[in-house]
């Protein structure tokens, strides 16, 4: 084990750039100020009509020009803003990053506004339906609409803007996507394929249809009033997650090359672990073994014991199922210590940013290490007696944090955890 390699002789991976956008604002500074002061970004939705909707709240990003232009345009803009901040902090040229891109992006479909626009072109020709939509296309290409349904489009735009190298990877592992983008980047550096990577998680896909889809699965909180109280992870009266938007970007580098170029090291991405669940499409295996496996795999990969973890940035979605299962997993791995180990959920304030969550929460985890401030779990007014954890209730806490576990669990049995530390060893 040299200065630049880990317990398995692999290159250590440094974090040298961070960028973030959420409903709380744009950039690390704005976000961190709001997050550590216990501010909620959840609000009543204004983007679309709310009639007939059981859930009428979300953590949408409404302050951008692209906020009203559809999921593809907004997801791209969010990713772009976060990436620019991260690359600039790392000190690389923002138009010539020089390493590969791993992008977690939401799977989006043709927007209704576009379907209606296509139908309007041909409505004199017969009954509405796909035959006619296809006929409308035969009148001439709809390139802008086409781009929104091509899953590879956003990454191509980002690759061009930031000068990343090679064929970018666009991925989705549901609510673990952001963590997977980081994991893929870490693995590429460990293989020596590049000395730097750009990992981004982005999601700007809150629409009426997306909300209804989650609503039909009974996954969303319906506590619309007051909106800022709806996301209440680990509370007894939690009733679902709150959809949200945002983006997180990280520049990861081999420690050796970061030090060689005199970069400011923000932290170390020490380990990544995953384990898929084979139990059910939306529910976890009752014994929690896949989530437990993912936590243990991340600790093993990082080469540290559970007692070295100072803080857990929880997935903490505020659904009855997730929080119960997450507690089961964490209490199994950390034993009795879980009752005194700080565990907080950023989602209590920013909501569930879905595809972006793992990346945004990794950014906040590194900021926790850097600043020694643990963001709280807000809306913790009515603790779930079955979840005996120190959730850093309602108010931030100052503490020396040198290692963080960040967990992500998603539909489709996706479980991915990350371990970040202040120091290489």
């Amino acid at each position: 084990m040299s200065k630049y390699t880990d317990h398995l002789g692999r290159p250590l991976v440094a974090i040298t750039g961070l960028g973030v956008v959420s409903s709380l604002g744009q950039g690390k500074e704005e976000n961190w100020a709001a997050l550590t002061s216990g501010t909620s970004g959840i609000h009543t939705i204004t983007r679309f009509e709310l009639d007939n909707l059981r859930t009428q709240i979300a953590g949408t990003v409404d302050f951008l020009e692209e906020s009203s232009k559809g999921a593809s345009a907004l997801s791209q803009k969010l990713a772009s803003l976060a990436a620019e901040e991260a690359i600039a902090q790392a000190g690389f040229p923002v138009d010539d990053f020089g390493g590969p891109l791993f992008l977690a992006a939401p799977p989006v479909e043709l927007e209704w506004r576009n379907r209606f626009a296509l139908d309007a072109l041909v409505k004199s020709e017969g009954e509405p339906g796909y035959d006619l939509l296809l006929a409308a296309c035969r009148r001439g290409p709809q390139v802008d609409m086409f781009n929104t349904v091509e899953f590879g489009y956003i990454a191509e735009c980002l690759a061009d803007t930031f000068g990343t190298r090679g064929l970018p990877v666009t991925l989705s592992t549901a609510c673990a996507s952001g963590a997977t983008a980081i994991q893929l980047g870490v693995e590429a550096i460990r293989r020596g394929e590049s000395d730097r990577v750009l990992s981004i998680g982005t999601d700007g896909s809150v629409s009426a249809e997306a909300l209804i889809r989650f609503s039909l699965l009974s996954a969303l909180s319906t506590q619309n009033e007051p909106a800022h109280k709806a996301a209440k992870p680990f509370s007894k009266d939690r009733d679902g997650f709150v959809m949200a938007e945002g983006s997180g970007a990280l520049v990861l580098e081999s420690l050796e090359s970061a030090i060689a170029r005199g970069a400011n090291i923000l932290g170390i991405m020490r380990g990544c672990g995953e384990k898929a669940d084979d139990f059910h499409r939306t529910r976890s295996k009752p014994d929690g073994s896949p989530a437990i496996g993912a936590v243990r795999a991340a600790l093993d990969d990082a080469g540290i014991k559970e007692d070295a973890i100072d803080y857990i940035n929880a997935h903490g979605t505020s659904t009855p199922e997730n929080d119960k299962m997450e507690y089961l997993a964490l209490s199994t791995v950390f034993g009795e210590r879980i009752s005194s180990l700080p565990v907080s959920s950023n989602k209590s304030m920013i909501g569930h940013t879905l595809t972006a969550a793992g990346a945004i929460e990794a950014v906040f985890s590194v900021l926790t290490i850097q600043t020694g401030t643990i963001p709280p779990t807000i809306n913790y007014d009515n603790p779930d007696p079955a979840i005996v954890m120190d959730v850093v209730p309602n108010v931030k806490r100052e503490a020396s944090v040198s290692s963080v576990l960040s967990s992500s669990f998603g539909f489709g049995g996706q479980n991915t955890c990350l371990v970040m530390t202040a120091e290489p060893n």
Partner: protein, 394 residues
Amino acid sequence: MQNNTVVITGIGLISSLGEGADAHWEAFNGQAEPRTDSETFRPYTVHPLGEVDWNNQIPKRGDQRQMETWQRIGTYTAGLALQDAGIKDDEALCSTMDMVVAAGGGERDVTVDKQILAEARVRNDLGTMLNEKLSTELRPTLFLAQLSNLLAGNISIVHKVTGSSRTFMGEEGAGISAIDTAVARIRSGQSTHALVGGAYNSEHPDMLLGYELNGMLKTDGWAPLWQREATAGGGIVTGSGGAFLVLESADHAKKRGARAYAAIEGVYSTQIRRGRDDLTETVAKLVGAASADKAADLIISGASGAKGITAAEKSALDTFSSSVVRGVAGKLGHLREAQFSLVVGLAALSLFKGSAFPPIDAENEKAGPASIDTALATSIGGTRGEGVARLVKA
């Protein structure tokens, strides 16, 4: 870091040509015309999926009901690949197996969409109407049945592959990156065995719409792959099907006595800006890199048929004088995300059999050499993403 040889030990295929590696080998060696359907989605032609008894690989009806067709195709094909590799139902091997799936998604409910389009013509309160219709008409579990990462999710549930689960998106490029990533992980020792592949359902109007927004589909019936430049529409004829591969380190395969079809020596990929960079030159460079010391005996091309793009690929391949090329989309259609795993699988199968199958488009493809020991597989995305794999006899 390790430098393991990566071998293919399982091939799962289904398409309009049938089911399984052997059925495909026979179909490509036979003289039968491609199976097409030019009526259902007129003026578009598709290569429809052959008869499949889903129970063979997805025994629980409940599981089948939870999937839209592309997920079902993929889950079924993944089962074929595992079975072919002798891994199916081996709990120890499946629970440690890595998985990378190249996925599209979004098989929407055509009936509900049609109702909404009809309402939209007569109502002014579009937002309210959308909420009302979607809330009451959508089947709650449809979301999961169309969600991109749930193909992998279903493979975990049905086949118990749970070592890891990653879903790549981005059309043909996703298929290229999926194999590239799995190969790189096995070569370097980050993984010992992996399931990789994808699936595509051409028989859904929303899938056709995804292409036709950019005018990419052929509209005047089927024609040989390399002869579509002057035909009507955009050149692509899609096909329904799936292609999954089991990749392993040679050591891992040997220890368990597994048969290896071929070894993947390298994956060469890039993504140029098509409006700015020269595609022919790019393909030539990739094929050149993949032919480093010795030109390949056979090139299984994943050319989609897209006008201009397929012509550019052909002119690049034509510069390699010895090349025997087979454009397989001419026989079973374009499978988009699954295209790269399809051509890599067919290249491996050809190496295992030791020869090239006969030309599919005899006017544009040469007869093959009596024996082969290297093969390339290409997938040049209809819009973006370019990749070539080099395979050798195991």
